[in-house]
């Protein structure tokens, strides 16, 4: 089972490789990928170095080109495909039909992975992308239960990659317009969710802090409460007279305890979320998952090390984790 780790810059890529990633996924420094944050991502020069570093150690590098271009700007995405091919990356990760079509025609030998942003959840949808674009792998949206993942793997349409750890999109990826509705900036089109330039923190009397996103109150925190980043889905709202996290709590996905089941199901690769996270996160999370996968392969049935769970919890958003959609009770 491959371990696919995130990197937002060259040091993170090297850290992921050093700590046991099978492949590292990255993005160019523009809107062509779904983590288009300021100060994040790779210049061409850094990427060339990073790919050299990974390849010298028999590891792979994937480039995410997983946003949806408009007609006027599709040329920039096509050029990004050209650059990826020229850099000799091991795969590109795409969602848009237009980008996939271009890559399939121009670079038939460059492996194409279907991004989570394509929202494909059934073997019929996967068949579409395989027949049209010959995809080599598909990343599943974080909506399916473990049993549904097992069924999908049984079909063997394409090798399946699932999210194993990291921040949790509560909505189907590629099907969420909450950020777009509030700010006009969308994960699908611009590669950004709830961008920082729309965030406003205010101090109120008594140490209360409130946070708005484009003038919509997302949450309010007492002096002692830890405050989270105001993505729309993780705010507290009033429903039926009660105020609570009506959509989702600030929490991270952690499937460490499901690892044997994911392997038995035939999952080809595990993905770690977090290209926006720092070196400590990338290093620790990659190392823990590498150890867990190696132990599972060398000593199937051995108990997981409790220290692993503690280390992962320390890096989880809001310091809490969930089995997320893989476990039915989460739904």
């Amino acid at each position: 089972m491959d371990l696919i780790c995130p990197a937002g810059n060259l040091p993170a890529l090297k850290t992921a490789v050093d700590h046991g990633a099978s492949a590292v996924y990255v993005g160019f420094r523009d809107q062509t990928n779904a983590r288009a944050f300021a100060g994040l991502n790779f210049s061409e020069d850094d990427l060339r170095q990073g790919i050299g570093y990974a390849h010298a150690r028999q590891r792979k590098v994937y480039i995410a080109l997983n946003t949806y271009p408009s007609p006027a700007h599709i040329g920039a995405w096509q050029k990004a495909v050209d650059r990826a091919a020229d850099l000799d990356v091991d795969a590109i990760i795409c969602a848009d039909l237009g980008v996939l079509d271009y890559a399939t025609r121009q670079y038939p030998n460059l492996p194409r992975h279907l991004s989570v942003q394509a929202s494909a959840t059934t073997h019929a949808a996967l068949r579409y992308y395989r027949e049209r674009f010959g995809i080599a792998r598909a990343v599943m949206p974080r909506v399916l239960s473990l049993q549904q993942i097992e069924r999908l793997c049984e079909r063997q349409v394409v090798p399946i990659e699932v999210f194993a750890f990291g921040s949790l999109c509560i909505m189907v990826e590629g099907r969420c317009q909450l950020s777009s509705y509030v700010t006009g900036v969308s994960p699908n089109r611009h590669g950004v969710c709830s961008p920082a330039k729309f965030v406003r923190w205010d101090e109120e009397p008594g140490g209360v802090r409130s946070v708005h996103l484009n003038d919509v109150l997302i949450d309010r925190y007492q002096a002692h409460e830890p405050a989270g980043y105001p993505t729309v889905c993780k705010g507290r709202y009033e429903v039926g007279g009660e105020i609570f996290h009506a959509l989702e709590e600030p929490t991270s996905l952690n499937t460490l305890q499901l690892l044997p089941m994911l392997k038995a199901a035939g999952v080809a690769a595990l993905k770690i979320e977090g290209r926006q996270r720092g070196l400590a996160y990338v290093g620790t999370v990659t190392r823990v998952w590498r150890q867990a996968i190696d132990q599972l392969e060398s000593h199937p049935g051995a108990a997981t090390n409790p220290a692993w769970q503690r280390e992962l919890d320390a890096h989880a958003e809001g310091h809490q984790t969930t089995l997320g959609p893989y476990h039915r009770s989460w739904h």
Binding site: Y68, S70, P71, A72, I74, D96, L97, G98, D101, Q117, A118, S119, A120, T121, T122, H123, A124, A125, R127, Y128, Y129, E131, R132, R142, V143, S145, I170, M171, V172, R175, C176, Q177, L178, S180, Y181, V182, T183, G184, N188, R189, N214, V216, L217, I218, D219, G235, R236, Y237, E238, V239, G240, I243, A246, L247, E248, P325, R328, S329, W330, H331
Partner: protein
């Protein structure tokens, strides 16, 4: 300009659904979309019931389209989708790539729903080659993108846009209605039937913000593009979609029909679309919105 009745997004009692659509068959509509698009657990009408109702309504002379689910998870969802696709003669609105594939397998023409991600002319071209004859524009697709579609020189399908109702913003595996009622989704008791126009979500300042509809999140505000019909028509939109609501849908339809037939733009009673103007969906445009929306037509409260 044609008028369509979009698929019912909420969960209504079986009798209410039949009553609504038998009345709707008499309203001045060109097309009626039927089917469950939000949650596969909703079974007041099963797939066979929807197909039977569609066949009954087809006798009214309206175009009837069967709408498919936006988010499929289980094998049983695919079986239901197969039944819809193999209905024999009615076109299907594909709200997911699974539906596109099943229709393409059978070489059946179809309508692309608003939850397909179509953002450029190449995606349009491929889907048209697959059999797509009409695209219901995703909510983010505004005036500028539509112009870019036209400028691409590609053969285009018909374009339909959401002109009335709450905007569908997001889908999840989680049911937010069940969550709000502290119920597990697997044991939800189908309580969304108690919220036939959705469950309001407000900010902590009690400002209306979103609407919970099972696994779907909608805007709180009703989009109302009736005053913009001439502009939509000039931009290349051929069909206007009106989403069903419990309160006096007949008047909603009549108001749009009157606006089309008379050519006189009515006063806006819902919200203009920020998206159409290339802005955030919730954005208010200076001078273009109604200062005092006529709530009576929108909701019974």
């Amino acid at each position: 300009m044609q008028l369509t009745l979009g698929p019912l997004q909420y969960f209504w009692r079986r009798d209410d659904v039949f009553k609504f659509y038998r009345a709707a068959a008499q309203w001045p509509l060109d097309t009626i979309y039927l089917g469950e698009t939000v949650c596969s657990k909703r079974r007041e009408l099963g797939t066979r019931d929807w197909i039977a109702l569609a066949n009954e309504l087809a006798e009214s002379g309206r175009e009837i389209v069967l709408s498919s689910l936006a988010l499929l998870e289980a094998e049983s969802d695919l079986s239901a989708l197969t039944r819809l696709v193999e209905n024999g003669h009615l076109r299907v609105e594909a709200n997911d790539m699974s539906a596109v594939q099943l229709l393409r397998d059978r070489k059946l023409p179809f309508i692309g729903g608003p939850s397909l991600n179509v953002y450029n002319h190449v995606a349009l071209r491929l889907l048209c080659a697959d059999g797509m004859q009409r695209l219901v524009l995703g909510i983010e697709l505004g005036r500028e993108l539509l112009q870019e579609f036209k400028d691409s020189g590609e053969p285009l399908p018909e374009f339909e846009t959401i002109a009335w109702g709450r905007l569908p913003l997001a889908y999840s595996a989680r049911c937010y209605t069940a969550r709000a009622l502290d119920l597990a989704k697997d044991d939800c008791g189908f309580r969304c039937i108690d919220y036939p126009d959705g469950l309001p979500l407000k900010t902590r300042e009690s400002r209306p913000f979103l609407t919970i509809n099972g696994i779907q999140i909608q805007s709180n505000e009703h989009c109302d593009l009736a005053p913009d019909i001439a502009e939509l028509h000039a931009a290349g939109v051929q069909l206007l979609r009106l989403y069903p609501q419990t309160n006096d849908m007949e008047s909603v339809v009549a108001r749009f029909r009157e606006a089309i037939d008379s050519g006189r733009p009515p006063q806006r009673i819902g919200k203009e679309s920020g998206y159409w103007h290339g802005q955030a969906g919730m954005e208010r445009l200076p001078g273009s919105g109604a200062a005092d929306p006529v709530q009576a037509v929108i909701s019974p409260q």
